[in-house]
């Protein structure tokens, strides 16, 4: 089985979010970049397939050279090959089109991406990619088994879950549940050494056109001070929730 894991290179969850150039660019100064958390669950599930069922695992990113450390980290976790499509990621559609070409040519049985990237929060690349290459697609996956070319997938729905089955090729938008937090791997010294020798192929883009443009960023308006309520005077809280906030 050939697996492709899409890796989005995102600011660590604790990052302070600031903008430069008149609020048109994300300020990467002092920001630590990591594998998108949803992709990390997917990558770890791919490792499981590799070890238990014999799969090859490629990781891919659409981005500039600055994303290579993130791809190297994926190699250190155990992926076999990395691919970087050498162009700035501008929107979900453009990224999906760039990925589609490589995914199609590589004849992957399974493409694992994340439910959403925690920076742009588009939640669109995996679905678009699947539709572009004519593969089946399941979003918000919390479980995936593959047996004899047939996938059994658990999808999270609002208020529950659903079990689906699909033939391959399949694209999933994954999240926690594919593996648990405790299954995530921190690259060890040996992994890091081996990752240096593994191939990281830089592929030139097809220069797909984006459909959207991130024109400007804004930070939420500063919030007013919290109103503190005396624990001995809970009637005041109820009054405020009822009459001021009008939520009860």
């Amino acid at each position: 089985m050939k697996i492709l894991v899409c890796i989005s290179h995102v600011p660590d969850t604790t990052s302070k979010i600031n903008f430069t150039e008149n609020d048109t660019k994300f300020d990467t100064n002092a920001v630590q970049f990591v594998i998108n958390p949803y992709d990390e669950f997917g990558l770890t599930r791919a490792m499981w397939f590799k070890e238990k069922q014999g799969a090859s695992v490629d990781v891919i990113n659409v981005g500039g050279a600055e994303t290579e450390p993130t791809l190297r980290k994926a190699l250190a976790i155990g992926a076999d090959n990395a691919i970087r499509i050498n162009t700035e990621a501008k929107d979900g559609f453009q990224v999906a089109k760039e990925l589609a070409k490589v995914a199609k040519e590589g004849n992957y049985d399974l493409v694992i991406a994340g439910r959403e990237s925690i920076d742009y929060n588009g939640g669109m690349v995996p679905g678009m990619l699947a539709q572009l290459i004519g593969a089946n697609f399941v979003n918000a996956c919390t479980g995936l088994e593959i047996e004899d070319n047939k996938a059994t997938i658990i999808r999270e729905i609002d208020g529950g879950k659903e079990t689906l089955s699909s033939s391959l090729p399949l694209v999933i938008g994954g999240q926690k549940g594919l593996v648990e937090e405790s299954d995530l791997r921190i690259p060890n010294m040996r992994g890091i050494m081996m990752a240096r020798k593994k191939p990281l192929n830089v592929v030139e883009p097809i220069n797909a056109t984006p459909q959207t443009e991130a024109a400007k960023f804004e930070k939420p308006a500063p919030k007013g001070e919290v109103k503190l309520i005396d624990p001995e005077n809970l009637d005041e809280l109820i009054n405020l929730l009822h009459n001021e906030a009008k939520v009860i």
Partner: protein, 322 residues
């Protein structure tokens, strides 16, 4: 050149998110000087969405679509968009909407903006404001393509009644076997509990509650308020509560009207997922807890003392205001 809105149904009835999407679509249509067509699948009372300003309804009744199937639904909405000659398509952001939207975007070669929080900033160029960086910022996105899909963030616009006698047309889109390549084997959904996704009020507990045996007061407060229950990540990681209750940046997003956090410190990853909630209340015995910086109302106190009293008072309040 209508605006098309997909109004989601469940068990033959519209979801609240469908009415919100319709309200939003109507307001966009007014901005653009056009009207709204809704596409409705297997709804027993399709014209109901007229209450929110929809003029035309393409109503589909087909037992093949009884179970939600993203590919088939995206295909049907694509055909509806073409029939209505819609260039702007509005969709909600329920789990199913988020599943359909990217497929629809490819079908229509449309730019898609997810998590949109208010009416378009401008319709020419078409610019929307959306959540980005997990609610830590907003992004003004220009959709440059001819067809445009706008995903309205949950609870961002609210319901705007606008009673209209809608014209209901039976629509029979063509379906092919390609639409049903994925099989839905089983659906497992608790019907007796309010879900975090649908709840107006969410009551959430953190590690400050010390152990799962203390969740009775969270549940009691929730049932008093008709709220859903939630928890912080460590609480679900330790197995005190099911994973489905974990909210935050890496868990479920919450966009309720009221979020009550009990014994939750307010770590950045937690706040990122609940920031879209309108009013936030924190109960924490540490006045330095970061949650106080983002909350609207705060009580510095021991949850084990405050909660029983609060539950009693809210029960009285509910009894008087029933």
């Amino acid at each position: 050149m209508a605006v098309l809105v997909y109004t989601e149904s469940e068990n033959g009835k519209y979801k609240k998110a469908a009415f919100e999407a319709a309200s939003f679509a109507k307001a966009i249509a007014e901005q653009m000087g056009t009207n709204v067509t809704a596409v409705s699948i297997n709804n027993e009372n399709a014209e109901e969405v007229g209450n929110y300003g929809v003029e035309n309804i393409l109503s589909i009744n087909n037992s093949k679509l009884d179970k939600f199937n993203a590919e088939a639904y995206a295909d049907v909405i694509t055909q509806a968009a073409k029939k209505a000659e819609a260039k702007v398509i509005v969709i909600g952001q329920t789990a199913n909407d988020k599943y359909i939207a990217p497929l629809l975007a490819v079908n229509l070669e449309a730019g898609y903006a997810a998590n949109v929080v208010e009416l378009p900033v401008s319709t020419s160029p078409f610019q929307v404001k959306r959540n980005a960086f997990s609610n830590k910022a907003f992004n003004i996105t220009t959709i440059a393509s001819e067809n445009k899909i706008v995903g309205l963030a949950k609870n961002a616009f609210g319901l705007k009644e606008n009673p209209t006698t809608a014209n209901v047309e039976n629509f029979e889109p063509s379906l092919s076997s390609d639409d049903f390549k994925i099989n839905i084997d089983s659906i497992d959904k608790a019907t007796d509990k309010i879900t975090i996704a649908d709840a107006e009020i969410v009551v959430s507990g953190g590690r400050g509650l010390k152990g799962p045996e203390n969740w009775g007061m969270i549940e009691e407060l929730a049932s008093t308020l008709g709220a859903a229950t939630a928890c912080s990540k460590p609480v679900s990681d330790m197995g005190w509560r099911p994973h489905s209750e974990h909210v935050g940046q890496t868990g479920k997003p919450v966009a309720s009207n009221l979020y009550i956090a009990v014994g939750i410190s307010g770590a950045i990853q937690h706040i990122a997922g609940i920031n879209a909630s309108k009013t936030k209340v924190v109960i924490n015995n540490d006045p330095e807890a970061p949650f106080f910086k983002v909350a609207d109302y705060g009580i510095v106190g021991d949850a084990f003392e405050v909660m029983p009293k609060l539950i009693e008072k809210l029960k009285d309040f509910k009894a008087k205001n029933a």
